[in-house]
């Protein structure tokens, strides 16, 4: 039921978001049309943070309860984290080229912390792929889960306190704000992306559960 509702909501909300972004929200005066990447970039970046927080939470819960369901939950968050951190970085780079004249600014703390977050997610998944022992895999991968969540406060606050060319916050506290029509497009896009993330998360979690069942039955068949 939840899965179907999230899927249906995504199908309805995404086209509405795209319509609002391109045909309703006004074009920003200084940046022009390229500013429209913001409506996808910010939700994707926030979802990369959400993935890290979910992964960190699952890691802590696994270390406390030693329940494999939390390990499964963490692995799904890690996988979605790779996708959404990549899309956040690439969309940011596409915006950066016309804004800064280059795709990547090597000394920029925000950019580098986001890249480190992506590498942490990849390291987490690589570690899981190479360790055959389930218990060992779950415990050791928690280290990377905790590293991912540690990145978030520094990443979030870097634009306030550290050297960065990244735009100052628009939607978070102290932000420059948006025009009312831009806010509407942003909120709809934000909700659409979070609903889609929920839909993908629930589905991927189901796959992880099925995989465990298959592994268990394969073991049982071999023993029979």
């Amino acid at each position: 039921m939840l899965k179907k509702s999230l899927g249906l909501a995504s199908i309805v909300l995404m086209p509405i978001a795209v319509y609002l972004i391109f045909f309703y929200a006004s074009t920003e005066k200084t940046m022009g049309i390229v500013q429209k990447i913001f409506y996808f970039h910010v939700p994707n970046a926030l979802l990369s943070y959400a993935s890290a927080i979910l992964l960190g939470f699952a890691s802590i819960m696994y270390l406390i309860k030693a329940d494999r369901a939390w390990d499964r939950f963490g692995s799904v968050a890690g996988e979605l984290g790779v996708v959404f951190t990549s899309t956040a970085i690439v969309s940011g780079m596409i915006w950066g080229k016309p804004a800064w004249g280059k795709y990547w600014v090597s000394w920029d703390v925000r950019l580098n912390l986001e890249l480190i977050l992506l590498l942490t997610f990849i390291a987490y998944l690589m570690l899981r792929a190479y360790l055959p022992n389930e218990e060992k895999r779950a415990t050791l991968s928690c280290v990377f889960g905790l590293l991912a969540v540690l990145n978030i406060p520094f990443n979030w606050l870097s634009i306030y306190f550290l050297p960065t060319q990244h735009p100052q916050p628009v939607v978070s506290p102290g932000g420059g704000g948006l025009e009312p029509d831009m806010w509407i497009a942003f909120y709809v896009s934000f909700i659409a992306w979070f609903v889609l993330y929920g839909y993908l998360f629930v589905n991927r979690l189901e796959v992880a559960k099925l995989q465990e069942e298959v592994d268990y039955l394969e073991h049982k068949v071999r023993m029979a």
């Binding site: 390229v34 189901e206 099925l210």
Partner: protein, 44 residues
């Protein structure tokens, strides 16, 4: 406009690939699960 289009196409493609991989994996696992259950039933 070209940059924005590339950005949106990249993001949509990445999410679409993720969704397709989930659906395909789920289908394969469901079939494997049915086969294994049948195999176990036959063995007993």
């Amino acid at each position: 406009m070209r940059d924005v289009a590339i950005g949106y196409i990249f993001i949509s493609t990445a999410v679409l690939i993720l969704w397709i991989s989930i659906v395909v994996r789920k289908g394969k696992l469901k079939r494997r699960l049915t086969d294994l259950k049948e195999e176990l039933r036959e063995n007993h």
